[in-house]
Symmetry: C2
Subunit: 208 residues, 2 copies
DNA sequence: GTCTATAGGCAGATAGAC
DNA sequence: GTCTATCTGCCTATAGAC
């Protein structure tokens, strides 16, 4: 990016991109403004023409990621389907979105403790909003008798942890395609809420 | 701890305890040797009588935690039961162990990127060993036809992510007891591998 | 809006007294 | 084994030229 003419580039965006990669790799506290500037092809002092402080870069990365994530789901047509289809769609949406932005995802859930209190509150509120999306799907399915759940609040968090964890170990070009892994997670979630798997002929096998 | 007579305390252990709490709360890079020393009730320079470098504290915390975790499972009698019982026992073991050491767990999975390459390799090897415990249980159950699985390697990671995530949101004194939450996770895992739930108290109400 | 230069402070690590 | 004192270097943020 450093060979792009200065007039044709959005320096703030370049700074953010450099910061995102560095923070995802090393952690916010371990990344210096000099490294970010180097990554963005400018000098260290120049960052302050676009961000008043290092903390503002982190807040921008996290808030914008969470808002984009929520907006992307709200643009999904399947969100108004019956509970089982909506749940499948949410699983596919979550995994797909997280694979396309692995660095933003990593930062959003690893750097909460690097946020100053005010910024933390803002990001936490957005995380709650996202979590509520899944909780509402589960609660609706339970209310309609489609899902067999014991506590949608607990199960929401268990499933989100499982789904988000996929980005920590899957690498493109591995043994399984992302589509295969996604199908696998869809079935894991379906079974966890008491539905039949969608991609597997078996109902439950023998009990012990 | 700072009012304990110097002769009767293991200063290295006090330093480790202080470092564990601080690193869990703020992250390795954001914690200074001065803060650790303050927490341990000594002066900053005194740490170097017990650890040659800051990095050595982190390595000790992470390696010892992983080794203790693996050793604790290997001391569990249920590890040689049939697959379904062994899986239940593993879920209970994992959650219970993680609840008793939430700070060590947090550090062990948040600070991998703060380890220098040699130390990273050592900790990664221990993580693989632990992951293999669950993978072997799943593979054994699949081979015996007790579990309905599509890919034990993927399902291992999905389940470990789900189980480990419990420590990030559960607080003692919350709406549900830890025993209740553990039962709930046991059933989620049982259903995810195609077993019938063991605690048949399924509610179908929307309890959000 | 980017640069150079620098202020002011804190980091990890070491030396040597006791 | 703990202390005080200090070294060296990097940190965030700012000032002012262009």
């Amino acid at each position: 990016m450093s060979d792009v003419p200065a007039r044709s580039r959005d320096t703030a965006a370049v700074i953010r991109a450099a910061a995102l990669g560095l923070i995802a790799a090393k952690g916010y506290a371990a990344v210096s403004m000099r490294e970010i500037a180097d990554g963005a092809g400018i000098r260290q002092g120049g960052i302050y023409n676009h961000f008043a402080a290092k903390q503002d870069i982190l807040r921008a990365l996290m808030v914008d990621h969470m808002e984009a994530l929520i907006a992307a789901w709200e643009a999904c047509p399947e969100r108004s389907c019956p509970p089982a289809e909506t749940l499948d769609a949410f699983v596919r949406f979550h995994i797909s979105y997280h694979f396309t932005r692995p660095e933003a995802v990593l930062v959003a859930y690893m750097e909460l403790r690097s946020l100053e209190p005010e910024n933390f509150a803002a990001v936490e509120a957005l995380r709650d909003r996202y979590e509520r999306i899944l909780r509402d799907i589960l609660a609706r399915g339970a209310a309609e008798g489609v899902f067999a759940l014991r506590d949608p609040a607990v199960e929401t968090r268990a499933l989100i942890a499982m789904l988000t964890g996929v980005t920590t170990w899957v690498r493109e070009g591995g043994r399984l395609s992302i589509a295969d892994i996604t199908d696998l997670y869809v079935d894991l979630v379906r079974r966890a809420v008491g539905l039949h798997p969608a991609h597997d002929r078996t109902r439950e096998t023998a009990d012990v």
